[in-house]
Subunit: 399 residues, 2 copies
């Protein structure tokens, strides 16, 4: 993600204008990554890493980090933001005429030139001052700022305190930029490659755990971070979340996959269902019901439609098609820097779909004692509908 412009600064400016804010302060890793276009990791909960996104899209964002992160900034090639550091960190030496690499040259330069403060709060205050907005109303991503610093910040702000901005960041992030869509496509492609390998592994005598482990290794080989690895076979195909593995695949088993990884900060989340051997009529029928609901959800997706309307259409379709008792809490969710990235296609979410939103659409059915079915794909909302980001065939795979 180095120095790619990720954030939709004009969309952010419009939201800040609407709420009367001069800037947004990102505190969670995802909102920091969005603001600066690169991921920065904290070592523990006390370590504070912030990014400030000014309303004016012409102003550069600011990064507030511990001094020791300057080397990481240099290695990642982050150059689109102004830096403010806090806390001591000692590195000796000089590099003139000595063995170096471009990241060391830059690190050395940053160590000499970056303004340094005693505390994260002082560094943040300096950033706001430098941006010319100290004392003006700001939004603060409230989820990952230490509460004592949050209180202190409140004293800098007009009465009423900070505007809690985690949800606002997610609204801004809701419509993806071209750079983000490119990253989501990369993550999805890696995930689908791995998922195809997993389907090919299905055979009698293979343990769920071996398939799950193959997924994790495939993700790491592809430079991604594997997360939820739902590989459920036989009776365990009916389990929605799977974090442990107990079943050895036998002929006739359904195998349900729901696989998540993060690549370059962006998530992929794709699901498929397979069967070892010939599916039973019940399996074939229920896959068909789920697929029909999933197709109905996709039919609905276009700008102007409410998330809850997509839900309603998919739900009633599955009920009419063949599962009258079908219930579901959602039939999909936004995906991006977070796995659940904001809106959900659910009865209570009346958000209106916009062009550029990226959604995972899934209409799974879980029946304990019988089996589970999943098709989950990722789509981007276009001017008059949607475009697939995932491309694997949507069928009941047979091995």
């Amino acid at each position: 993600m180095s120095d790619v412009v990720i954030a939709n600064r004009s969309r952010a400016a419009a939201y800040m204008e609407r709420h009367g804010l001069a800037a947004l302060i990102a505190t969670t890793p995802e909102n920091v990554a969005y603001t600066i276009g690169s991921q920065l990791r904290a070592t523990n909960w006390t370590m504070q890493i912030y990014a400030v996104m000014p309303k004016n899209p012409e102003q550069r964002p600011c990064i507030i980090i511990p001094t020791n992160r300057l080397g990481v900034i240099a290695q990642m090639g982050i150059s689109g933001a102004d830096l403010y550091v806090y806390s001591d960190f000692f590195v000796e030496g000089s590099i003139a005429g000595k063995p170096s690499t471009p990241d060391i040259d830059l690190f050395y330069d940053l160590l000499q030139t970056t303004p340094s403060y005693a505390t994260p709060f002082a560094a943040l205050e300096a950033a706001l001052t430098q941006l010319g907005i100290k004392g003006q109303p700001v939004g603060v991503d409230e989820m990952r700022m230490a509460p004592d610093i949050y209180s202190k910040l409140t004293e800098l702000l007009p009465s009423g305190g900070a505007f809690p901005a985690y949800a606002l960041f997610r609204q801004i992030r809701g419509v993806k930029t071209e750079a983000e869509i490119a990253l989501l496509k990369k993550a999805a492609a890696l995930n689908e490659q791995a998922e195809s390998e997993l389907i090919a592994m299905i055979a009698a005598g293979v343990h769920e755990a071996d398939i799950a482990q193959h997924y994790r290794l495939a993700a790491v080989k592809g430079k991604a971070v594997p997360a939820m690895t739902a590989v459920g076979a036989g009776p365990r195909s009916a389990l929605p979340l799977i974090e442990n593995y107990f079943h050895t695949i036998a002929p006739g088993d359904l195998v349900r996959f729901d696989l998540c990884l993060q690549l370059g900060g962006y998530w992929a989340d794709t699901g498929r269902t397979a069967v070892l051997g010939e599916p039973t009529e019940w399996q074939r029928n229920h896959f068909h019901y789920v697929k029909t609901g999933w197709e109905r959800a996709l039919d609905m997706i276009r700008p102007g439609v409410k998330a809850s309307e997509v839900f309603e259409a998919a739900l009633t379709t599955v009920q009419k098609e063949g599962i009258p008792h079908y219930r579901r809490q959602h039939v999909g969710h936004a995906i991006g820097l977070e796995l659940y990235d904001g809106i959900t296609l659910s009865p209570g979410d009346h958000s209106v779909l916009e062009k550029g939103m990226v959604l995972c659409v899934e209409v799974p059915y879980y029946e304990l004692g019988a089996g589970g079915f999943q098709i989950e794909d990722t789509v981007v909302v276009t001017e008059d509908g949607f475009e697939f980001i995932t491309h694997m065939e949507r069928r009941l795979y047979q091995q």
Copy 2:
């Protein structure tokens, strides 16, 4: 970690007694894991997962989770805590006489019997009521509770609000239980195995990136989560934190490793230094200075000594031994459920060492343009000194 008793409940009770608290509410994944003996992951920042640790060690802890996590609870074999769930989640079917597995049986049972609430706050309130401590003072791990819920919780509590308990949890966790030490040893052993493989890979023409990737795969093969993978060769051995790789190893290069992974929730963090070929006098000497400081730090470690005293002794030793300008912000840190798990061996930390504390001891030297040196080991404080948790030879490795 399933159902191993991890927490030191009597130590926790003593700290709660001292602060007049009836319970502690864990909100960060680490403090939740400590309280219940198992890790539970949240999907995003809005998802709230809490664990309540009552002061009375005879009372079971409580877990507050979204309903969909019940399957994970069943799969992990978590049975030492009472469950309170919130939010809708639909799974159909019955299991009587149908294909199942023990985790499905348990999941089904939990779905029928677990008290369910509309919101995480209502579930938390029910847990406090059930424990008979609603309205009594409690400590709240303030780092990972959504601020709106934190405010609401304050209304339940005596005036003065919640006692911020993140630091208190870390103090309690500071002295590890036998079960925790066993887990830290497992993590360290895996990390050392990987580090040995990495040292063996050092050869002319090998890229840092290939060594780093080998580490990540070795961690995943060992069921661990790889984190900071500092593999810096040649000039890049002088970089403290390494998150990107640019150098191909050449004869004479120092290669500095600082490797972190998490296994079963517990961290390992080990460092070694190697050289390709014969070390120069400068390399040999500087490794010796660092090693002498590191040995001095270890000499100091025993119950009753202050963290800052260990720091001072190591620092002055390195300065006298051969690097008069030697500076350092710390010479080690507690390790456990967090990589930086509480105290640091630093000038400002006057915590007194206690038996059962687990510390990483490191006295690195970074000189840009010249090279970097690291020995980092993990030790547990014993009655009259310490015992190593890491076992690799502490020498300047030669390949």
